[in-house]
């Protein structure tokens, strides 16, 4: 049984009469010990998918229309509130993009780690355990650092504290939503190395959200690409990066300038991401797609599983086509 299994998750905003569908039939699963990356442009529904895992999207305004989220076999969407509270920051914990906004500015960081311990592992709520966690995420002299306030730490160190708090409950699944987006490349590299190391040592599952394909390449076992509320491609990381199949995945990879390669012009994807409530008919990517056929404008492609195991939402992206 996979640790997490999301089936046909469908989420809408707005009144039923004029509802805007933000997630449309999202299905994915994560095995224990696996690192899954969710990539896609802004507004594609990555965060909503991730937050749903602990039912953290406020309802209303959001409404779950269909689907289930099974964590160790139990459906999160139907859990009573008390159990949801235990789950959050317990079995699954979260790390967000902006550590400055998530830490309490008037409380020493060690105390903040301690609070998570008191809630989820009261027996381990000791100063020694706080220091062990801070050391685990690579904070030097944890004894002294525990009494620092967030503003006394740099962005990279704040993000380490956030990760220490997320680890305090011994989660089985760590959800990291753009954990390095606000950081420099050199600090980003440190955090990525930390996540890779923790994954090895603790055997946790990780769901990592990023719009940086390079970050996904460094950490993912599998990659899921989302566009306008749908999964458009899902495959093992190496297969997806070395041989992207969906036209959107290809366009995304081609538009990212690579350091070692110099080209005259970058291949931009024409147009922009459609707004919520204004998704095009047929294939949602068709107005920007370079190989779109006339029928793409009217026929809704389904996510098909190929013989090699990957899933692709495009009838024209056949295996073996010339790249």
């Amino acid at each position: 049984m996979p640790l997490l299994e999301i089936n046909d998750l469908t989420l809408e905003f707005g009144a039923v009469s004029e509802s805007k569908r933000a997630l449309d039939g999202v299905s994915l699963s994560i095995e224990s010990g696996e690192t899954m990356c969710l990539v896609g442009e802004s507004g594609s529904g990555k965060s909503l998918t991730a937050l749903s895992i602990a039912k953290l999207v406020p309802t209303p305004p959001a409404r779950y229309v269909r689907g289930s989220i099974l964590l160790e076999g139990r459906d999160v969407l139907t859990l009573p509130d008390r159990e949801l509270h235990r789950l959050r920051g317990g079995l699954v914990s979260f790390v967000f993009q902006d550590p400055g906004a998530s830490l309490n500015p008037v409380m020493p960081v060690g105390r903040q780690v301690m609070e998570v311990l008191e809630l989820h592992r009261p027996k381990a709520a000791t100063r020694a355990e706080v220091c062990r966690l801070l050391a685990l995420v690579g904070i030097a002299s944890p004894q002294e650092r525990a009494s620092s306030y967030p503003h006394q730490l740099s962005g990279g160190m704040q993000q380490r504290v956030m990760i220490a708090m997320a680890l305090a409950s011994n989660p089985k699944l760590l959800v990291a939503d753009e954990p390095t987006t606000a950081l420099d490349v050199t600090i980003q590299a440190q955090i990525m190395e930390l996540l890779a190391d923790l994954k090895q040592r603790l055997g946790m599952s990780i769901l990592l959200i990023t719009h940086n394909l390079g970050v996904a390449a460094a950490l993912a076992d599998r990659i899921v690409v989302m566009y306008a509320g749908q999964v458009v491609e899902m495959a093992p990381a190496l297969a997806l990066l070395s041989d992207p199949r969906h036209p959107y995945t290809r366009a995304l990879m081609e538009s990212a300038p690579e350091l070692g390669v110099s080209t005259a012009r970058l291949k931009a994807i024409p147009g922009s991401v459609p707004r919520l409530g204004a998704f095009p008919s047929g294939c949602r990517f068709h107005p920007r797609c370079s190989i779109a056929a006339p029928e793409c404008a009217s026929r809704d492609p389904s996510l098909e599983q190929w013989p090699d195991g990957r899933k692709v939402r495009c009838p024209f992206a056949r295996k073996g086509d010339a790249v």
Binding site: E41, S42, S154, G155, G156, M157, L183, D184, V185, T186, I187, Q188, A189, Q190, M192, E193, H211, N212, L213, G214, V215, A217, A218, L238, L241, S242, A251, L252, M253, S255, A256, P257, E258, L259, G260, S262, T263, R265, L266, K267, A268, I269, P270, S272, V273
Partner: protein, 321 residues
């Protein structure tokens, strides 16, 4: 041909604190003794960690921030912060990182773009001005219909186009672009980067392009400047800096860039973080994090020296392979 911009020994310092409540005043050394020049039609990429002084340098160049010492010469004329400031800086424009915050939400696109034309009296009457605005919008890939709309009606990429149109309105010869694509999705990033390239070819514009994405910088720049703690530590052609970096900091920076396909390169992960510009370390500013630092690095400031044709590195050990 002479450079469009010459910078000599430029320093920017901020005073913070002072007064009864804040204790003694402190000096932030944001930019220290920086010299370089830009030719017409050339793009210089400026990279370095957050807080190393990139924005401060850019703001000093366009006259938004007073330099503490040093000389800024634009088209041969020295910017003295006095009477000639507006005349000199009208050839210099800046576009900003955040396309959401840098446009006035209560002005239409026509007002935003037209404002600069009016201030610098570049159009005779309202009709001429309107025509100039439409021409500018078209040149950045928008159209006449967009003129009457407000910023919130546009996507991030479109707003950045509006920012560029506004900057182009006064016919600048140098654009300082401060992380113009960092807040945009990769797909839209590529559109803006291509636009900047096209504009450069059409108008022979020069760019100082500030970014932390080395891929974008390499793609767009003729030469690259690497800053660390207020100082330039390496300069060279885009290929020299990105493919054969010689400063240990540049090496770490380049190796930290995540790549799409698995590579066999070894990643140099730096320990520790950028020290404070409030009390920069003695000797080489990079020595506390440098993997190869020696005794001399802790006491003696390395001066830039040429390690290849127009490839300068400020490191005592730069001659080592």
């Amino acid at each position: 041909m002479r450079p469009i911009l010459e910078i000599e020994n430029l320093s920017v310092r901020y005073t913070i604190g002072g007064g009864l409540l804040n204790g003694p005043a402190n000096e932030v050394r944001a930019v220290e003794d920086v010299s370089f020049s830009i030719m017409p039609g050339e793009t210089i990429g400026l990279v370095g960690e957050s807080g190393c002084g990139k924005t401060s340098l850019g703001r000093a160049i366009v006259g938004l921030q007073r330099a503490s010492s040093g000389v800024i010469r634009f088209a041969g004329e020295t910017l003295d912060f006095g009477s000639n400031r507006q005349r000199v800086t009208s050839g210099l424009q800046m576009i900003f990182q955040n396309p959401y915050a840098s446009l006035n939400p209560r002005m239409t696109v026509e007002q935003i773009v037209g404002e600069a034309i009016q201030i610098h009296r570049l159009a005779g009457n309202a009709a001429d001005r309107r025509e100039a605005v439409v021409r500018l919008l078209v040149s950045v890939g928008l159209d006449a219909q967009h003129a009457q709309r407000y910023p919130h009606e546009f996507s991030g990429g479109q707003r950045q186009r509006i920012g560029i149109a506004r900057a182009l309105a006064v016919k600048p010869r140098l654009l300082v672009c401060d992380e113009p694509v960092s807040a945009l999705d990769v797909s839209v990033q590529a559109q803006i980067v291509n636009l900047l390239r096209d504009l450069q070819e059409a108008e022979s514009l020069a760019y100082l392009f500030i970014a932390h994405d080395l891929g974008v910088v390499r793609h767009l720049s003729h030469r690259v400047l690497v800053m660390y703690l207020g100082r330039v530590v390496e300069t060279g052609s885009s290929d020299q800096v990105c493919l054969t970096p010689r400063h240990p900091y540049t090496k770490a920076l380049i190796s930290a860039v995540p790549s799409l396909l698995p590579t066999h390169k070894t990643r140099v992960v730096l320990k520790g973080e950028l020290p404070s510009p409030l009390n920069p370390p003695a000797g080489c500013p990079f020595h506390p994090r440098c993997p190869i630092a020696e005794a001399r690095c802790r006491t003696e400031l390395p001066l830039p020296r040429e390690v290849g044709a127009s490839h300068w590195v400020a490191c005592h050990l730069a001659h080592r392979p």
